[in-house]
């Protein structure tokens, strides 16, 4: 009984409030131990997050709110902050107190929000962060005086060093047992009276509103028109309320802007506090950060640095990931062989499911893991350094030209990882039309799921050449692919913002965090999460789709096709036997084929011939690898190789005399039989594939995809990828493993290079590869993104419009790319 009462009395909730990028999320993690993304970037939290911690016998729920610069309640995330403070969010408990997180190096600006929060009168503690940054700039904050001014305790906290967290917990515990006191600022009398009057009107409407309004809300309503709160009250109070509101506003403003009246009063008081509580010992000159920023955020130099940095990132992805990719490809080849060895010889269907469906599909995708990891390694390092905020600043300038603000840049930048958090991140955009435009543009950014498609096509069809002597062509094409989506998004944004989603550009306030050394743990976590997510996708949805595609490609199995090809095999073997018999007869009259094979002199000559052929092939392959990029050197090496071969052949003729001639005939017949049987195997696989359910469906859609340079197999793989685009790699892996039976050893890239169209010409050319990449760059093949768009816009209209617009654009883009590249000889 006692225990139950004790538990009930000692369960509290506090809410963390602060500006973006003041270390709120890190503090949340330090207090609760919860795993949460910490990024050196404003706006990392767009939803309230919950965690729990204990102090002595108190269980404390901690609510992490979106970072905000004020409680102006113009955007949805600012409204979340107010609702959470007032305990009006269904998903989070009503807070018993507030932890106000303030950045010591920018106290003036942080206290603007701080004064607004303290006016709510909840028990509060100030957590003062970035004290070391402030000290490095010569700013010393007297916490005792600051505490006296604000009327709440102030605790210095340094999360990375683990300092102050326990003291903060004990202070929270202490203040929660005392009632809070609302902060009162010296606003002009007219302003105060208007707030009180409006508060009275709101209280009268409380039944219709469905909640009890507060005085700080009345102040927000007076100053900030057009936010979610204003909409709610207008619904309850109708036109009469708007008339009263206009009267109060006119009275309070006294000829000036209300926002200005509020800002003057707040900043006036903050300045007075700062004179008491803050000492600035060093003149605020240009710091190293300022000097670096002058270059990195410069219109010309900054843009140049951005292009060079990103270019280097994409170059490195190719240069460094290749050996690891080859190793994974080799491992899957070995795995395929080993697993095939375990399965019974006569279980052809099961072997095919495992080798072509599972290993061909999943293995084909996992090969790209190193490139994904390298891309995120670089981005995580750049972000941790603080560079990405500078890039956002640069882009803000450019985006304003297309009617978008820097607020749109953050969600769009997120979309390069995944469009889903990007679409969700648009909640920070207060203007509805700008928000919808940004939601619409997010899927255009090349997300990480597109990377395997690009690298597969580039690895297979773009030659390993250098441009300008130092730039790899493959890395350059990859960099260009990332721009395709951006270039398509620009006119789309222009059309939307100048047309149906017209609105004014709102100013965007963004903080430039100080440059910091990248934190290895943070980077390791990013890599673990991204890599883990990719592997999980390969092992779940990609595996499932690969198995379904395999089944659709295997069934129905036609006995007629099997029989017809078996007859062709028998005919080929009979032809081989006849060739052998003719060779035997030509060498010694009356000799049969089997007698020729058993003749010791011929067998010795045959063994030497085989060895010579193998050595010659190895030399040719070596020359190709070594001199492939230099035509003249390759021709020279090939000439030398040919001469060596002729000389060895002459030597064999001397050694084996007459026996060499039938041995050469036998070898040629053997090779002819092998090639013939392989061709029959391929023909049979192709015939079964064409007869399968997938093949039949593919033939229906083939006329639509032929102009893009695709055959039915690529078309079906693209269609199978509409729910999730990365599925295409697994699907191609399955289709081409099953369809091209002799290309297993070279992996998927090799299989694509060797794939043949019905007329025997190469199926994939550079033009086809480019066409596939452009299609994937522009198409909205992600059901999860469309679902989140529906949720965020509360309508199917936007996801439907996005899907049809992007699919049409992708088709036209791929069509144009193929036709132009094909005409240019690609």
């Amino acid at each position: 009984m006692t225990s139950a009462r004790h538990n009930r009395a000692d369960r509290h909730a506090v809410v963390l409030v602060g500006n973006p990028n003041v270390g709120k999320s890190s503090l949340f993690s330090a207090l609760t131990g919860a795993r949460q993304k910490i990024a050196n970037f404003p706006g990392v939290t767009v939803e309230a997050k919950l965690g729990t911690t204990r102090f002595e016998n108190t269980e404390l729920s901690v609510i992490d709110l979106p970072g905000t610069y004020s409680l102006a309640a113009r955007s949805p995330d600012e409204r979340v902050a107010i609702d959470a403070l007032l305990g009006r969010l269904e998903e989070v408990p009503a807070p018993d107190g507030v932890v106000l997180v303030l950045d010591a190096s920018s106290l003036d600006r942080n206290l603007y929000l701080g004064t607004q929060v303290l006016e709510f009168g909840l028990p509060a503690v100030v957590a003062l962060t970035m004290v070391d940054v402030a000290l490095s700039r010569g700013i010393r904050v007297d916490t005792a005086r600051l505490s006296q001014a604000l009327g709440v305790p102030v605790v210095e906290v340094n999360v990375p060093q683990g300092r102050g967290v326990e003291e903060l917990k004990s202070t929270i515990h202490r203040v929660l047992h005392h009632p809070g006191k609302a902060l009162e600022l010296p606003f002009p009398a007219e302003f105060r009276q208007a707030v009180d009057g409006l508060y009275g009107v709101l209280c009268d409407l409380s039944v219709d509103l469905g909640f009890k309004p507060t005085r700080p809300e009345a102040m927000r309503l007076l100053v900030d028109l057009g936010g979610p709160l204003h909409d709610e009250v207008r619904q309850a109070g109708g036109q009469a309320f708007d008339t009263k509101l206009a009267e109060f506003r006119a009275r309070a403003a006294d000829g000036r802007g209300l926002a200005l009246v509020e800002a003057n009063a707040r900043y006036g008081q903050i300045a007075a506090w700062m004179r008491e509580a803050r000492q600035v010992s060093a003149p605020e000159g240009r710091t190293l950060t300022d000097r670096v920023d002058a270059v990195l955020t410069h219109k010309v130099w900054g843009s140049l640095v951005f292009v060079v940095v990103m270019g280097l990132v994409f170059q490195s992805i190719y240069a460094w990931a290749e050996p690891l990719m080859n190793a994974i490809e080799g491992a899957f080849g070995w795995l395929g062989g080993t697993v095939a060895g375990w399965l019974p010889e006569d279980a052809a269907m099961l072997r095919s499911l495992v080798e072509d469906g599972v290993i061909g599909g999943v293995g084909g995708v996992l090969v790209f893991l190193p490139q994904i990891l390298f891309l995120f390694l670089f981005i995580a390092i750049l972000e941790d350094l603080g560079y990405m905020s500078r890039a956002a600043f640069l882009m803000d300038r450019i985006m304003a030209r297309f009617g978008l603000s820097g607020r749109s840049f953050i969600p769009l930048l997120s979309s390069f990882a995944c469009a889903i958090p990007g679409v969700m991140g648009t909640r920070v955009i207060e203007d509805r039309n700008t928000r919808l435009t940004t939601v619409f543009l997010a899927p255009f950014m090349s997300c990480s799921a597109r990377l395997p498609v690009y690298t597969l096509m580039i690895g297979a069809f773009v030659p390993k050449q250098t441009v300008l002597g130092f730039l790899g062509l493959q890395g350059l094409v990859l960099f260009a692919m990332y721009w395709v989506g951006v270039l398509a998004a620009i006119p789309t944004a222009l059309v939307l913002k100048k047309g149906i989603l017209r609105s004014r550009v709102t100013p965007f306030l963004m903080e430039m965090p100080s440059y910091k050394l990248p934190r290895p743990r943070n980077i390791a976590r990013v890599l673990y999460e991204r890599g883990g997510s990719f592997v999980k996708r390969a092992g779940t949805i990609i595996l499932a789709v690969s198995i379904i595609v395999w089944a659709a490609l295997w069934f129905p199995r036609s006995d007629d096709i099997t029989r017809a090809h078996e007859q062709r095999r028998e005919a080929a073997r009979a032809g081989h036997a006849a060739t052998l018999a003719a060779a035997a007869e030509a060498w010694r009259q009356g000799m049969t084929g089997p007698e020729l094979e058993a003749d010791p002199a011929v067998a010795a000559a045959l063994a030497d011939m085989r060895e010579l052929e193998a050595t010659d092939k190895a030399a040719r392959d070596r020359d190709e690898t070594e001199f492939g990029h230099d035509e003249t050197a390759l021709a020279e090496a090939q000439r030398a190789g040919r001469a060596a071969y002729e000389s060895s052949l002459l030597e064999l003729r001397r050694r084996h005399r007459g026996a060499l001639s039938p041995a050469m005939q036998m070898l040629a017949a053997e090779q002819e039989l092998e090639e013939g049987l392989a061709a029959i195997d391929n023909d049979e696989a192709a015939a079964h594939a064409e007869n399968s359910w997938l093949g039949r469906a593919g033939h229906v859609i083939e006329p639509a995809v032929r102009p893009l340079g695709w055959d039915w197999r690529i078309g079906m793989a693209a269609i199978a990828s509409f729910p999730a685009r990365e599925v295409i790699v697994g699907t191609l892996g399955t289709i081409f493993s099953l369809g091209d039976v002799d290309e297993q050893d070279e992996g998927l890239r090799g299989a694509l290079r060797n794939a043949r169209d019905r007329d025997g010409s190469p199926l994939f050319t550079l033009a086809t590869g480019l066409s596939v990449m452009v299609f994937f760059a522009l198409c909205c093949q992600c059901a999860a993104t469309l679902a989140v768009m529906r949720r965020e816009t509360n309508s199917w209209k936007w996801p439907a419009a996005s899907f049809f617009y992007m699919t049409t654009l992708a088709y036209l883009g791929a069509l144009m790319t193929y036709q132009v590249a094909h005409a240019l000889g690609g």
Partner: protein
């Protein structure tokens, strides 16, 4: 026996894809994330 094993594998794959379609539609109608792992915020992600 061989056919049975293949059928079970294909059945599980179809059920999994069906479950994902259902979960995606729930998200579209406003439900929270089902934890499928499709979306993990990247280093530049603004949100969870």
């Amino acid at each position: 026996m061989e056919l049975a094993v293949v059928m079970v594998a294909v059945g599980i794959a179809l059920a999994f894809v069906g479950w994902r379609v259902f979960a995606t539609l729930r998200v579209a109608r406003g439900a929270g994330c089902g934890g499928c792992g499709s979306c993990k915020p990247g280093p530049t992600a603004a949100g969870s």
